[in-house]
Subunit: 157 residues, 2 copies
DNA sequence: TTTAGTCCGACCTTATTGATCGGAGATCAT
DNA sequence: ATGATCTCCGATCAATAAGGTCGGACTAAA
């Protein structure tokens, strides 16, 4: 229960990888493309592409078009929270259907529902949890495995 | 994202209702049947029946067969946690696919996956959250929720 | 201008959830 | 004991969401 989607999983892996490349000590500053990540983690290329597009649209990463293009983090690893990443892919956090219920679309149970308020408190606690953890917290001490890409070798000095 | 299922919602409502009837001051000790709950909260009867059956099978409530039959809480409201209820309906908590991965069924990303460990810590924090809140907390005053950010504990591997 | 790469949206396939049906078994009233 | 009523429980169906795929348009570097 409470499982996050594969897309969200892929997003976390991809962002962590980009962060490692961008701020790691191997080839700092290098731009990362979709193919590199897909091959490194065995993620279907097209699906990952869509995930990255979504992340770019939500302002978490910047896309650079054309050859030698790819993605870069839009801001520092401490300014990107897990909540932002997950919400960027899966939409706003809502443990129950009525979490973001607008006026006029009440659920059938709402009239006598006594569990909404406590559940919203639980939801809020989970959000704080996810929003207090950043990309930086997910990359400590993890070694970056470099890949042999002709493109990458050409760029790295 | 992270939405719980309708069945789980129904389970929470039903258990709260049973608890109110059983320990409330109107008709204490009365047995509650499926139909009563379904009508009160506009829940499809057969679906609720299956939810209650599952809860009974998991030892959260006791079923009494035949006419004048129905359900009773198996233990006190303070001994039934939200985690127990949700897990009884939706299965064990697992925010990622590999949460309960058995030997030999590694996911394709596992080889280079660096996000598993921090995610498991997040999952553990959510579990504590849900397991520290009981049915009792959903019946009266404001639920007491304590969270502990995994970041503070040093989530990075 | 060519070429490699990203961008974007439509599409399909599968899995999960929500909901339904019909009978078996158990209990109480008569 | 017997019937009527109610819960139990498995099998099944439909709707929705997730996972994954395809083809073409656009962009920038060589």
């Amino acid at each position: 229960m409470l499982k996050i989607s594969k897309k969200a999983d892929y997003a976390l892996m991809a962002l962590q990888h980009i962060a490692l490349v961008q701020f790691g000590d191997v080839t700092p500053g290098r731009v990362v493309n979709t193919k590199e990540i897909a091959e490194e983690y065995n993620i279907p290329l097209e699906l990952l592409a869509k995930v990255l597009q979504t992340l770019a649209k939500n302002g978490l990463i910047e896309s650079h078009n054309g050859p030698k293009g790819g993605y870069l983090l839009a801001r520092s690893t401490r300014q990107i929270t897990i909540a932002q990443i997950l919400e960027g892919i899966e939409g706003p956090l809502g443990i129950t259907d009525c979490s973001h219920e607008k006026e006029g679309e009440l659920c059938l149970q709402r009239e006598h529902c006594n569990i909404r308020t406590p559940l919203l408190k639980v939801q809020d606690s989970i959000y704080q949890l996810l929003n207090n953890m950043t990309l930086q917290d997910m990359m400590g001490g993890t070694p970056l495995i470099t890949i042999q890409s002709p493109t990458a070798q050409g760029v790295a000095q």
